[in-house]
Amino acid sequence: MVGLIQNEWIKLFKRPGTYVMAAVLLLFITAFAAFTKYETSKQAHETNWKQEVQAETALYQKQLAESAGITKEKKEFIEGQIAVNECRLAENKPVDTAPNMWSFVESANDILQFAGLFIIVIAGGIVASEFSWGTVKLLLIRPISRSKVLLSKYATVVLFGLFLTMLAFLFSVVIGALLFGIEGESVHLAYNGGQIVEQNILFYLLKLYGLNMLDLLMMATMAFMISAVFRNSSLAIGISLFLLFTGPNVTYLLSMRYDWAKYLLFANTDLTQFQTGDAMVEGMTIGFSLTMLALYFAFFQLLAFGVFQKRDVAA
């Protein structure tokens, strides 16, 4: 099994495309960093963090007062934010007014969407290209069960996803440190069931990246399944990317009218929605979403392994 994964890894990194992907990802982060730096240098005026926090609290209170149809979760979230802000003022725990390394890493997390795109390309191609190269015959006439062959490929996709996420994270840390400095007096406060706790920022960021990666892996699993079932990489990559771009929006539109939208894959992939109380359909919980994701995951894998093991290889 280790040998198989090693084989896959070598095949991945002996092709220039893989390096292009990694390079593009790093380039985006660099561009984003440069842009952030440029933006902050324009607004040179020093602001007082206390004033900022107070302004934010005022905004939250206005939100609470104005919107009547606000969900219970959202209300809780806003109340939590207000509580955190008050705690900051009372105990003198500052937020950063200028970006630093950590805040940059936090905002750079959006760039992970591109990593997702690349992981889909890899996942969509990893089985199908063996078919188009004809080399699938080599893999399947060795004393290794078909399920092991497929499992090694899936493991490689997951490892590659981890690799890209780690790469993006570490690179953001480095470039953030270089451009914005390590210094920052910010304390990360989290509101947790009525209590305010001081959280390690690194822990918070890793969780953020982790949740995002889960999202990406679901998409990758879908692309992998299509790749294994239809044996066509353009189809797998095309469908997955199309869904990646349109899925969340379509699901959002559906969720405004229909309750069943919560059973759709895309209603559940963004697990950060539960942290800010913005669940797509009212009444969804993180437990519900995790269950749905597990079901989708099992479905994709069953399909991929079932078809891959059964079907004749006639190409």
């Binding site: 198989l4 070598i10 190269w133 004809g134 080399t135 015959k137 080599l138 004393p143």
Partner: protein, 307 residues
């Protein structure tokens, strides 16, 4: 000689059509078995079933006693194969391709790798990318890959496809060597009979999914009647034909220009010559025309276009 590959009533049905119909034969250690048949006969399909790429609809295949159906991994461990074309990772070097394969099974040492590379004569180019290889080099790398783990049976689907005469000769020599020196069973498929004749010990003829005959190459050439050609004076042709037909085994007399072609047993030839002389017919020559395998093949497959 022990049986290495045994097919038992192997049948493959795709969408209600029987593509392979009850194949039943075995291949022995140290033997080169030829799988001969016109395009679409089912050679590749049979090979795919032997190596487990396709599931058989009925029957079973045993390799070294292990069923491909129920003990696939044990069975396939003894097989090395190239199905249709040598498929390789073009973006890797020849050596890296071999290493990929070595990682998929136990007990392949670096020495073995180097030895196989040397055996197929690729030592000079083995570290170049496969996309820079010629077809012949790919074919050789494919063979290297398939014999890496010292299989008991080597299966090559149209191994000489696209090779020049020198390349064909070389491959033929490898195949004979592997069978004779390493006691490997080799199954080769081809639609070229002349080629099969030169490298196989036995040939099985496949047509429309059915095995219509398995014969040893030597035996085939020598069995039964021979064809002879008699060069006779033009005016005497009809009378001579009569003479031949009178003898015990002389049949199938055909006229071709100034010659008569006929089949007869060897022992009847002196009888025929004596008869011709007694009747005062002018005969210039009677000689044996060795009937090629090609003719036999056409006879069996019903005059169908082969090449």
């Amino acid at each position: 000689m022990s049986v290495v590959v045994q097919l038992e009533n192997v049948t493959k049905t795709i969408k209600g059509r029987k593509i392979i119909d009850s194949l039943h034969f075995s291949v022995h250690e140290g033997e080169v078995f030829g799988f001969l048949g016109p395009n679409g006969a089912g050679k590749t399909t049979t090979i795919r079933m032997i190596v487990g790429l396709m599931k058989m609809s009925e029957g079973d295949i045993f390799i070294s006693g292990h069923s491909v159906r129920t003990h696939f991994e044990d069975a396939i461990d003894n097989v090395g194969a190239i199905v249709e074309n040598p498929e390789l990772y073009k973006f890797l070097s020849g050596y890296e391709n071999l290493k990929q394969y070595a990682r998929m099974q136990k007990g392949i040492t670096k020495q073995r790798l180097d030895k196989v590379v040397e055996l197929v004569g690729l030592t000079d180019r083995i570290h170049d990318k496969v996309k820079t290889y010629s077809l012949g080099m790919r074919q050789r790398l494919g063979i290297a890959q398939s014999i890496l783990h010292r299989p008991k049976v080597l299966i090559l689907d149209e191994p000489t496809n696209g090779l020049d005469p020198a390349g064909i000769k070389e491959i033929r020599q490898y195949i004979r060597d592997l069978a004779e020196k390493e006691d490997m069973a080799v199954i080769v498929s081809s639609h070229l009979l002349s080629e099969m004749e030169m490298m196989c010990d036995r040939i099985g003829i496949l047509q429309k999914g059915k095995m219509i005959g398995v014969q040893s190459v030597r035996g085939w050439m020598e069995d039964g009647l021979e064809t002879y050609c008699a060069d006779v004076e033009k005016n005497d042709l009809a009378a001579a034909a009569m003479c031949i037909k009178e003898t015990a085994s002389g049949t199938n007399v055909k006229q071709e220009g100034n010659h008569l072609l006929f089949s007869a047993e060897r022992s009847d030839i002196p009888v025929i010559i004596r008869l011709l002389a007694e009747r005062g017919l002018s005969v210039y020559e009677v000689r044996k025309v060795s009937k090629s395998l090609e003719d036999r093949f056409l006879e069996i497959t019903g005059q169908q276009e082969v090449v």
